[in-house]
């Protein structure tokens, strides 16, 4: 089977590659681009650990072929820090609010939350919970993940962050 030539932008960098059409985007990112931040969790499209940003969409990269990303702009967790290398608001939120335990779901959670806040800069708790409904976390019970996203939203909007009462 003929390989396909693809050109795309990953974390701001132009990339050209030859891929088998059956290569999934997650395998292309992890194995050909050495970007191992996006994880393979369930490999069936349920868990969201493989979530990356693709042309203003949150996409499960285990359910997308690399050829489908031809011409696209992709952001992974490796591209989420501020240009000066400091943590972005979301990364800082997950750190400050203890939004992770084992950390396996975190890259997917942060990429999904990134798109959520782009579309809805001041979400309610309910909107956050619905917004991350495609990302499973088996450690935290989600409470601190929600707080981490609220922290980031407040920081981005320049509003005070008030931790909800338990």
């Amino acid at each position: 089977m003929a390989k396909s030539h693809i050109e795309l932008t990953i974390n701001g960098k132009k990339v050209e590659a030859l891929v088998e059409p059956r290569t999934l985007l997650i395998h292309f990112l992890r194995e050909q681009q050495n970007l191992t931040g996006a994880h393979i969790g369930c490999d069936t499209g349920h868990c969201g650990a493989c979530t990356v940003e693709m042309d203003d969409m949150s996409v499960k990269s285990c359910m997308t072929f690399a050829v489908q990303a031809n011409g696209a702009s992709i952001t992974t967790i490796e591209g989420m820090a501020n240009p000066d290398g400091t943590l972005s608001a979301l990364q800082e939120g997950f750190r400050m609010m203890h939004g992770l335990q084992c950390g396996y779901c975190t890259p997917g959670m942060i990429l999904r939350a990134h798109r959520l806040l782009k579309e809805n800069p001041a979400p309610t708790e309910d909107e956050i919970r619905n917004g991350i409904a495609g990302n499973l976390c088996r450690c935290t019970g989600y409470v601190n993940i929600v707080k981490a996203i609220q922290y980031a939203a407040a920081k981005i909007n320049g509003t005070p962050f008030q931790e909800a009462a338990e």
């Binding site: 059409p21 069936t44 349920h46 969409m57 996409v59 359910m63 997308t64 050829v67 917004g131 495609g134």
Partner: protein, 288 residues
């Protein structure tokens, strides 16, 4: 899990896509959002030799109003349906239903055309399209034709679509601005297919129901249009006795499988419960 090998094609027009499908034959599959097909390919339940990706065909996307109809391009995503002002104005039940499909990531990629065309009885849009009296525009090697949603579904994964035909758009008559609507879906968790679901569209005048249409999801090999149940409601005030009788008539046409979502008897009853709730909510939204 890695799918079998295939050749990838990304035509730029519907004509090219139809030509590819007829040249490549039965071993070619259409790729839309891919979120039903790719999991099947990863588990090797599907091993197409060719994929014809429709995402490069610009005019398959978009929502427009033409006369008294809304036209939705097949490659329009669930995410776009949710955010459409045109649909919010004319057919808010489409966004309500879309929000209950899968999860946010899948709604960015999952397409309206894929949902109505692949024949999965678990998909939510088919019963809604039957409820709304939609028709599907289909293009194949012998030209184009229109198929009513109510005639389209023949069995599980078996529709009136012939191999080599592409569903390009869906045409939906705009209901009266006073209509009431609701889509009620029982599911075990976010992202699940329905245990049972019901789409209801009604109009009311002076406290009486003047028209009703009901679709049922995932309680048979195909989506169901409960036309007899709906006609029993017309002329009534949607009083308890009338609704009870209509719910019984709708339950009677269901034929669900017993599976991990519950035994058949339970799923039949849940279809009735979803219909009852959808009717109540539709009535509360109907003006007149």
């Amino acid at each position: 899990m890695i799918p079998g090998t295939f050749d990838y094609h990304r035509p730029a027009t519907v004509e090219d896509a139809v030509g590819l499908l007829s040249r490549l034959g039965e071993e070619a599959n259409i790729l839309a959002g891919g979120h039903s097909l790719i999991p099947l390919m990863k588990t090797r339940l599907a091993s197409p030799e060719h994929l014809v990706d429709l995402s490069g065909i610009g005019n398959l996307k978009g929502i427009s109003v033409e006369g008294g109809d809304v036209i939705i391009g097949a490659m329009t995503t669930q995410h776009e349906l949710i955010n459409s002002d045109e649909l919010a104005r004319h057919l808010p039940i489409i966004a309500e239903t879309s929000r209950l499909i899968a999860d946010p990531q899948i709604r960015y990629k999952g397409t309206f055309g894929g949902n109505v065309a692949n024949g999965d009885p678990g998909n939510d849009m088919p019963a809604l399209m039957m409820c709304l009296g939609a028709s599907y525009s289909v293009t194949g090697p012998d030209g184009s034709r229109e198929i009513a949603a109510r005639d389209f579904y023949q069995g599980a994964y078996f529709t009136s679509l012939e191999h080599g035909e592409i569903l390009t758009a869906v045409r939906i008559p705009i209901p009266s601005p006073d209509h009431g609507y609701a889509y009620e879906k029982l599911k075990r968790k976010v992202g699940d297919y329905a245990t049972a679901a019901a789409a209801v569209v009604i109009t009311m005048e002076g406290g009486k129901c003047t028209s009703a249409s009901i679709g049922l999801t995932n309680v048979s090999e195909t989506p169901l249009w409960a036309s007899e149940a709906a006609s029993m409601l017309v002329g009534t005030s949607l009083d308890k006795a009338s609704v009870d009788a209509a719910v019984a008539a709708a339950e009677a046409i269901t034929e669900p499988a017993s599976d991990m979502r519950g035994p058949a008897e339970y799923r039949t009853k849940m279809a009735g419960v979803m219909m009852r709730r959808a009717l109540e909510r539709a009535q509360s939204r109907a003006k007149g």
